[in-house]
Symmetry: D2
Subunit: 337 residues, 4 copies
């Protein structure tokens, strides 16, 4: 950590900063410049991170040197992590396609969708049983009934299932049914939830929050991994910006950024990013080209009557055509679906 | 709701849209313009809101007319709501000053801070027992022990207490200790939590999320009120923008905006907005001048050794001087503290 | 245009709004709903756009129906525009690769770079002679001397040249040397400049401003086209968001968005979007996959000693390897470079 | 400047970085930590700023110590600058109120407005003769005719005039008529224009760009001052964020931030920030309370028929009532209007 002093910092103030650094177990290294004195704190930076050096008299600014996350970092582990989801590897050479409806609305529509996305080549089935909705007057999910239909669909199609958790009280229930537990964008900083899914031995898909930086997302992943669960899949799903033509702004450079900073697999959710079905093809192709390890795509047999996210859902036939193109793209990139 | 059709929409498509509107119980009113046909849906818009009309063939765009919230809206209730917090009114002529440490660190520091903010004129005491922290390696709060110290401080000073909930499983515990339960920025869209605090008969302070629009915040407030709890206090605490000189960007115009859209009281948290203690004075004064009903300010007896938010905490003497200025400002504005 | 009235609007106020609409030459169409009255203005919306109906008594909100641009819109022209740049088509089946240094620093480096990007397969040469720099203490460009070197490089390599204009007084000079005149992100709303390049008969590359929505960009393009110059190439180069890991946030969905809204060609500048050379490969591949008509990439023979944008410049060998991949991608997408 | 090396940096790479630093005339100071080596560059940082050290092999990150601006910084000049505008001081104890129409539409409306804002107590008159408009189909200003009316209004009322420049070719013309030349938000990084107004001996009001950080604004001010013109007035007018309820998001903390970083006067434009007249009162009061040195407010005798910015313009009577409150607020803050 680098501590930049104010031009007018006194010797007593410098000594005080040095003693703070030393009492945290680090060594202080003083550089006196023409206009400023700068102190380097040498040793384990985490010990200093909790001390508000910014407000110690004489201090102008504090510049951390290390990233605040460790276990999820590329420095900690050079090779890409591959997460095993009931036998399906996520993060390796194979590209993962998660598909299914936004919400499980009833048994029939789920089974129909599951069969069709399986036929088209999807590798995991998604479907929400607990739904976070901005309006209290919107459909909120079938809860355990929805989970049962998902399990039935898995039995029939063989597709492992991905479903969202909204409440730590549902952990046991979800652990019983789900193959991947999704922590949604709105819960990315629900730290209690992160800790508890960190105590499971089950893959977690962590979606980026609407106002979360890439480093925030990795810190949230660190919560899970540092609690004992290394099976984290990162998901870019768009951030909130001033542009309103699309529902969110997909940050495609987050794919190489996360790959640079972390060893965890990265998938992209084009449906929530775009908010409209007609851009899903181009964003999906772009995501694979950018190096994503997979995609999560909303598919609904009758979007016009969907209870949730209809405008951004693909119909099965369109999804099937998209899959044809994605398979070719995967081969072109020397990967496969 | 207004449905704008595509220039090439056919009569069959128009008929289909009309039937959708009518089957939801509204009346359709067709205007044929030179370049476009526009259909107005007359009746209760909420019935239509869940139908994804955007993807119905022939539809170009859907423009809602009504705000998506109702009970919290100014249209629903013309007069300002005044929330009673153990005898302290929030939202009326009196300005509410909530002060105290970011986190309850130990008994001594809390009691000392409580006495000092009371002496300076604060009306409510804040202090976190459960702390949402971006890093898993940071201090996470004293939990129930912290709540007991808060209760003790209330006993001694008479100040009602405000403390944050992070997990629905703590609702009973918090309901037992707290006078105002705070739902933090990161939980503003934790909808299960919103519903459950909506079932309490206790004031809730709802903080704006970092990427939440004013309307998102009001929809979250609607979750609470529609579940039966009308005692909601809104809190502006800064949003995330590209500007990094301050921790967040305080949206001061959110004060008149929320007052325009809603009858609920609005307070401002200058500490989290600025992230640095030296701007708290100017932002606090500006907030009152903009029409805020109160402020929430972090005060710590020894910020340099604080376990949380040291850089943005005021020392008690400085808080006391700020209170002198705020009291004068309140009088100037024909209000009082 | 739809005018939503306040619930309490009086008949006199409604009549006044109707008279405003009619005096602008449109017809008013009144729908009385349960809670609100809504007035549709039927006819040429542009006539109403300049009238501030929002503040007419009784009016709550005004919802435009038409896009505010016309000549650049997809509705105006269904087929993609192809711009001819000295015989090189931009916007058709062929993908355009513009490459070269951020700034022309001297004759030697420009000619060397030009030869190398030509050899690698670039189709246009870029190089700044006038440089917009955030700091007054940075290198500001060689001006006409730089343009002469660009012309020499064109003569030698046959590559048409793209260079930026910063000042309307340089229009004649740039028109004499450049094959494409670039209007940079910071000048995207320099409306006088837009009008004057609109009077030329020369292709203009218009870069999206850092805080410009897609519709703002198209309105700026409309300035150029409505002044008589239909040869506009749109360029996505990243917007400013809260994410700071990359220099800007590339809005990859802007590619299908602009293609949906407009008939103009769209290219992407991965160099400014990322701000770091090591992400250029992935963003370039993603851009083509998303449907971009081309790329603009900064190449410098010695980035470590570049006077401008060194961190985001590729060395020629690396550019050459990127071109190999881009050519394969173009073929895969059934296009070519 | 601090250069953080990669964990795997070799001695040869360290030596190369040191030689780069020394060849720029600075001294290198090496600190070897447990995980990283860090090099401090001691001396004039500006010499290093143009060298892209980020891409030198072995370098991970570069952390500047000094602000990139100098002449406008508070470090350079401790006391507040007071700018003399034809005898009216801007930036001292007196608060400056600039009022008038968005655009000069005709002689009558300008003179009427000028008389009324003068009567209400405004200190400067604003009015645009050259108008930057997002749409090419909007009113673009009366140009020199407008300037003549402004001069006439000044003659009659004694109010110095503030008017915007859009094109460097108009500098002489504007210098002849204006008392303060305004550089608008869209031209904040029109660096040629900044240099040329920097060569004048006339106050310049520089408005913050919609996506400009506070430091970007100060760098643009540095352009003007370093070219010889120290008479710069900074203007906060709102930035672009995801919130759309107001036209822009006023960054009220920018007032204390700019005062902290710079000695230049800071005024606020509530009209453009809010985009609606009914929030101007609260934002104006808040701005003074936050420490602003003045306000710029749009006033129009008939907003309903304004050719520009009608929705955000105050009628003269309302402006007059606002002035009564602002005068009281100024006295309360121990300043005066």
């Amino acid at each position: 950590m680098i501590i930049v002093l104010k031009p007018e910092a006194t010797q007593a103030e410098i000594d005080h900063v040095v003693s703070k650094i030393e009492s945290a177990g680090l060594k202080a290294h003083i550089s006196r410049g023409v206009e400023r004195t700068v102190i380097g704190a040498i040793g384990d930076e985490t010990a200093l991170r909790e001390i508000p050096l910014e407000i110690v008299p004489g201090v102008d600014r504090v510049l951390p040197i290390m990233t605040p996350f460790k276990l999820v970092s590329r420095e900690f582990r050079k090779e890409n992590s591959v997460i095993d989801v009931r036998g399906v590897p996520v993060g390796g050479r194979k590209i993962t396609i998660i598909a299914g409806p936004c919400a499980v609305e009833n048994r029939g529509m789920l089974l129909e969708t599951a069969r069709k996305v399986k036929a088209a080549g999807a590798t995991l089935l998604r479907g929400g049983a607990f739904k976070p909705r901005t309006s209290p007057y919107s459909f909120q999910g079938l809860e355990e009934e929805g989970l049962r239909y998902l399990a039935e669909a898995r039995e029939e199609t063989g597709l492992p299932i991905v479903t969202e958790i909204m409440d730590p009280r549902d952990i046991e229930l979800l652990d019983r049914y789900a193959d991947v537990i999704q922590v949604g964008a709105r819960n990315m900083q629900n730290f209690r939830l992160l800790k508890e899914v960190g105590a499971l031995n089950k893959p977690i898909m962590l979606k980026r929050g609407l106002s979360a930086t890439i480093k925030d997302l990795l810190l949230s992943a660190e919560y899970i991994v540092s609690n004992g669960n290394p099976n984290v899949i990162l998901c870019e799903r768009g951030i909130r910006t001033f542009e309103t033509f699309t529902r969110n702004t997909i940050d495609i450079a987050a794919v190489p950024s996360m790959k640079d900073l972390s060893h965890l697999p990265v998938i992209v959710d084009p449906s929530h990013a775009a908010g409209r079905w007609d851009f899903i093809h181009s964003i999906s192709m772009a995501s694979l080209a950018a190096g994503a390890d997979g995609l999560m795509i909303e598919v609904h047999p009758d979007p016009e009557n969907a209870l949730c996210d209809g405008p951004q859902s693909l119909m099965p036939e369109r999804f099937s055509r998209l899959m044809d193109d994605l398979k070719k793209m995967a081969l072109f990139l020397d990967r496969e679906i």
